[in-house]
Structures are given as structure tokens and as C-alpha cells.
Symmetry: C2
Subunit: 383 residues, 2 copies
């Protein structure tokens, strides 16, 4: 619980929900007849609706990007480092929107939602959703909020893929695309890690083919393993060394299988606490959306061709120690944009935090991010 809300926090925020009764056709061929999106907004939409920013969340993120939902919250939203008064995404200037993706487990329609056709949770029957589907649903949320054009769409990791897809699918509705710690598609190694995570969940006897809800259980073991594994890929070898080294929790080797090294203790804690706040079917869906994303695939693997209709100005940011989506993967995006004579800025930030760096207020990163956002503020003022 924060004793007092920090001055640079947006403070207390309340999630809102919009119910969409117009069906949404999905990439998989199925249709969601109706659905809800839960979202938060920070700041105030100006009279011309020209200062709106959409934040897209990553695998385990949600609509709660900044501030506190209650004074009992132990921690603020997941991107508190970047969103708030005076921060790069300045809530004194911008109207910021962040929604929980379809298939999520924090209030938007997903596997834990009651399927109106059966009266029971969707569970494994929830359709596979893609980055493209998310972008379409976010566009409809923009309609509801009266936002014809986002001054920027911003996201890290899987969120960055949504930003890229926004620029492709809705060029007339996005002025700036800020893509952080992302990639234009997963590598075989990325898919492999996702597959191990999925197998961990799906082979857990408590998974019950995804219908664990009706067995009054959750695949704890599998989801915990998936999260532990994820965490290894979010941190760099260096940051793990700096954080844990080979420190022994009790100062000596015990020659047993209980926790001995600090890093083991950290991973088990991360795994356990994740299980209490996340749904296993949602985790599976998010990893599939990651695996499938590959906008160049419909253009003979030519990313520049996939980006041909893009009009948004891009800011691409990568982190040196990120081995999940290395700078080389960001450079693929930058090169494709340059090949198409698009406007793009690129920053490669020296950071030892690995993939997680995009959530960390590293000064050069925040400075560059801030400077780019200042440019957008000026454009908004002149519009």
C-alpha cells in the first residue's frame, strides 16, 4: 500500500468497461458475437481529440498501466515508470488509453468470461486471437472514445508488435508509432521457449484440456513453470549475475533439492505469485499470438512491402542486453522502414537489464523517449 501517492503518479484510477454488441470477425475465421474491453484512461482528451495515446500491453500485462486502483495496492501499474505527470508519456499533456487485450484475464472478454451460448466459462473454446484482432478491437474502442486518430500508439515487446500492426492496418488513424524492445516476428528460439511454456501448462494434470474451471482447480505447476522460464528470458545473463550472482540463500551448500541459490528463490517466488494473478488459458493465447505474428509472411517475407502503406512516423527503441528481442530484431524493422522511405528514429540503449529494460526508468532511455514525446506535444499544439 502506498502511504501517499507519489507526486509523479497519476494517482487513483478506476478501470472502465465497454461492451461491444457488434460482432468481431477474427483472423482464425471465428466470430465473437459480443465482447467487452476493460480499459483505463489517464489525463484529459482535448477538444479536438488530438492528444490521445494508445498503450498496447505485452504478454502478461493488462489495462492497468499506471497509477493505483486502490490505496491498498502494493504496486502501481506496470508502466508507471513512463506514464504520469511530467513523465515521457505525460498525463498532463496526453489522454492515455490502455485496454486489456481480448483473451485476457483482467476484465476483457477471454477464457474466464462466461460464454453467452453455454452459460459456462469459454475456457479452451475461446478462439485464438491475433495481434491483428487486438488492433481491430482497439480501433473500435477508439471509435467509442471519439478518437479518430491517435497521436501515438506505443508498446513494448508484444505491445510493440501491436503498434507495428496499427501502422499497417490503420495508417490514417495513427500519427506516431513507438515500438520498443520488439521484433517483426518470433525466431525459432522464441517459438521454442513458448512451446515449452505451453507444454508445461497443457501437460499439467490439473489443466483438464483447458477446462480446469469446472474442476475447481488451476494448472498451478504448469503456469508456474511457464512464468519461471519466461523470467529467465526477460533478464540478461549479466543482470542475473548482478542481481543474484551465485549467492547462496543460507550462505552454504546444503546438498539437497530445496532452494539453495538466491536465483532459485527469486524464480520460485515469481512463479508462485504469477499463478495467483493470471489465467493459464490466457497465457496460452498470448504465446500463440506471439508465435503467429509475422506481417511480412503475406508479402513473400518482405517486411518493407508489408509496411508499404505506413504513414506513421516511427520511433524504434532496443536494448543492448535484450536477448529475447535483440537490437538486431529492431534493426530489421528500421531497415524495412528505411527501404520504404518512411520516417524513422532509432535508439539502441546501453542497458544490462535484458528484455525487461523497457519497463525500467533507465535515464538515457527515458531522456530519448521524453524528447520524442515532446516533439509529438508540439505537433499536437500546432494541429
Amino acid at each position: 500500500m502506498p502511504d501517499t501517492i507519489p507526486a509523479d503518479s497519476i494517482g487513483l484510477v478506476t478501470p472502465q468497461t465497454h461492451h461491444f454488441s457488434q460482432p468481431l470477425e477474427l483472423a482464425c475465421g471465428k466470430t465473437l458475437g459480443e465482447y467487452s474491453l476493460v480499459y483505463e484512461t489517464y489525463g484529459t482528451l482535448n477538444s479536438s481529440a488530438s492528444n490521445a495515446i494508445l498503450i498496447c500491453h505485452a504478454l502478461s500485462g493488462d489495462q492497468h498501466a499506471a497509477g493505483y486502483n486502490s490505496m491498498d495496492d502494493r504496486k502501481p501499474g506496470w508502466w508507471e515508470s513512463a506514464i504520469g505527470p511530467g513523465k515521457p508519456i505525460d498525463t498532463d499533456r496526453f489522454f492515455v488509453v490502455c485496454s486489456n487485450n481480448l483473451g485476457g484475464c483482467k476484465g476483457s472478454t477471454g477464457p474466464t468470461t462466461t460464454n453467452p451460448e453455454t452459460g459456462r466459462p469459454y475456457g479452451p473454446d475461446f478462439p485464438i486471437v491475433t495481434v491483428e484482432d487486438w488492433v481491430n478491437s482497439q480501433a473500435r474502442l477508439g471509435d467509442v472514445l471519439g478518437i479518430e486518430r491517435w497521436s501515438a500508439v506505443i508498446g513494448g515487446s508484444l505491445g510493440g508488435m501491436q503498434v507495428l500492426q496499427w501502422a499497417i492496418d490503420y495508417p490514417e488513424r495513427i500519427s506516431h508509432a513507438i515500438v520498443i524492445a520488439a521484433a517483426p516476428k518470433l525466431s525459432a528460439q522464441n517459438i521454442a521457449f513458448n512451446e515449452v511454456a505451453r507444454q508445461a501448462i497443457m501437460s499439467d494434470p490439473d489443466f483438464y484440456d483447458g477446462d480446469y474451471y469446472s474442476h475447481d482447480t488451476v494448472p498451478r505447476r504448469g503456469l508456474m513453470l511457464a512464468r519461471m522460464l519466461g523470467h529467465i528470458t526477460y533478464l540478461s545473463d549479466d543482470s542475473m549475475r548482478a542481481k543474484f550472482g551465485r549467492e547462496l540463500r543460507e550462505g552454504q551448500i546444503n546438498y539437497g533439492f530445496d532452494v539453495e541459490f538466491q536465483v532459485e528463490s527469486y524464480l520460485r517466488y515469481q512463479g508462485r505469485s504469477f499463478v495467483d494473478r493470471f489465467d493459464a488459458n490466457t497465457y496460452l493465447l498470448m504465446t500463440k499470438a506471439l508465435d503467429y505474428y509475422d506481417p511480412a509472411s503475406e508479402h513473400n517475407d518482405n517486411l518493407a512491402a508489408a509496411l508499404a502503406m505506413v504513414t506513421a512516423k516511427f520511433m524504434v527503441i532496443a536494448f543492448t542486453s535484450d536477448w529475447r528481442f535483440s537490437p538486431e530484431r529492431s534493426r530489421e524493422i528500421v531497415r524495412a522502414l528505411l527501404d520504404g522511405n518512411k520516417q524513422v528514429s532509432y535508439a539502441e540503449i546501453e542497458a544490462h537489464h535484458g528484455h525487461d529494460a523497457f519497463l525500467v526508468p533507465i535515464k538515457p532511455y527515458m531522456d530519448i523517449f521524453h524528447a520524442y514525446m515532446e516533439r509529438i506535444i508540439k505537433e499536437v499544439a500546432q494541429s
Copy 2:
């Protein structure tokens, strides 16, 4: 089944077993009252017993390093690429010995062995064994075979750690130490991967606290996950890209959770086939031996001090794309040896195969390996 044995193979070999009735004190404080080691030998020991080579195996390896145990074998031993007539470890010149490590599951005393005190498999009661313990047991095997001094002790990965420990513990019994794709200790990230693998096994409901033998089952799911995860760390991102790319098994996305990408199919196959040939308790023991290994820890983290008494000449080999034990980790060993004015050769081989490169007959690697072994042959001839 090989229709004919290839000319450069040692051919059919038969594993042998030696039973040791003299107790072995282990690093963990426990004592094995008696134990067996299964081993294979290739080539002929010369009259002065000066041409003997010890091969130390890695995590999932065993005594069957080369040749075929029967004409029904689908594949030869795990290091067939390097051991055989005319190969770097030339069985026309050397007498080569490889034993299954204590705690193993291929015939040496381990968790699957009957505990003489209870009449049931050791299972989880098998003591934790360390690299030091293995080296001590291998030294006793040398005694049995009449080998006072190995012309070389050779190993990759965890096997390389045993080589390093041989040079530390038995300087008078080892002329050359060949350490390939190894590290002087695990990093926090290495330990983290091991921990996820262990948790996968230990959280499998079929693990029964390690006593699955008496429940007539094995923790298949957990061991399969551990192996899948291991495989990702054995390959490089590049080699996975080259091997699988984002190839779809059926040429199209199916929007489901069955195997879609080739890399998923490969990992599941690797996981499944491993379960049929390996014991989960052994896997746990091997990962613990890896985690614990840290010869510098008793010397204020000064590896050069740990190596102070070393007299063996070293050959250290690393592979550029190995991210499990990167070249930087090999260079730590080389620097420590140089700091102590030891004799050391070092080769960093350009290879895209990742950690697995040490098992692959990459030409520059084999050439350098061969050249170094030729030097040993000359020394043996002059002795």
C-alpha cells in the same frame, strides 16, 4: 542398425563393470559403502600404460562414447565424431576409457540401483554427487585398469568441468587437460535454467518425491519438459533458425495448440525420446553437480589460486555461438591458467551450432583437436 560398421568406427564394443567394495566418501558428507562403475574402453593400453585417455561425459551422456554396442544400434556412441581410428582421439594410438558417472542410469551405481541396505532402488536417497566425487571415482577406476597417469583427460561441457577438477585434484596423474565448451562455474542464468528443469520434474505428480519406482511410473511430463528446455540452450538462435526457421509443419497456420511449427515438432520428439532412455533422479543429480561446481569458491573466488598446483598442459576450446557456456567463460579458465604461468592453448571455433558444437565434426575444430592430440602421441612415443 548400421548395415556395416563404418571403417572409421571402433566398431562393436562391450561395456564392462567394476565393483568397488572400498567405501567412497562423498563431498556431501555421506559415504557410498560399495558401488559399481560401468565403462567402455577402446584401443589397446601399451606396455608402459602411457597412452591412456579418460573421457568425461556431460549431463545426459554415458560410458558409450564411441562404436556400437550391437548391430541393432541405430546410432553409435555420443562422441563417435571424435573417437575412432584416425580421428582426433585415435583409437589406433590411444587406450580410451569412458565410464558412466556415479549417480548415472546406464549401469553405474545410481538412483535406479538397488540400495543394499534396503533391497529397494536408492531413488531419492541416492546421495548428491559432485564433480569432485566423480573425479575420485574415476581415479579409482584408473587404479583398477593399471593407469597411473592419463596422457590426457578430455571432456566437453560438464565433462570439461571434470577435466578441470582432475588437473586440480590429481596433478601427478594427468599430463594433458582438454576442456571443451565448458565454464569454471555456472552463471545465475545457467542455474536458473537448471532450476526450471528440476521444478518441472519435481512438480510432476508422477515424481512421488523421487520414489516413482515403487509406484511403477516415471515423471514423464517433467523429464520431457526438462529435456525440451535443455535442447533450447544447447542450440544457438542461429542454428535453430537454420534448422527450422518459422517453417510450419503443415504449411499453414491451424489456429490451435497442436504442433504447428517444425521447431515444436523437433522439441516434442527430443523430449519424448529422452524419457525412454534416461532417469529423472539422475537428471536432478547431474544438474546439481553442475550448479555446485565452483573450484574457485574455496579460494576467495580466485580461479588462478584454485589452479595453483596444476601441472597438466591445457587445451581449451570454445565455440562462438555457444550461449550456454560462451567463449568468455572459457577465457576465464585460460586467463586463470595464464595468471599462474601454466601451459595453455586456446581455440575459439567459429560455429553456429551453439553448445552442441562440441559434438559436431566441424572441420577447424577437428583439425585443431587432431593437431593437439598428435603432439600427445609424440610425447607418448618419447616417454
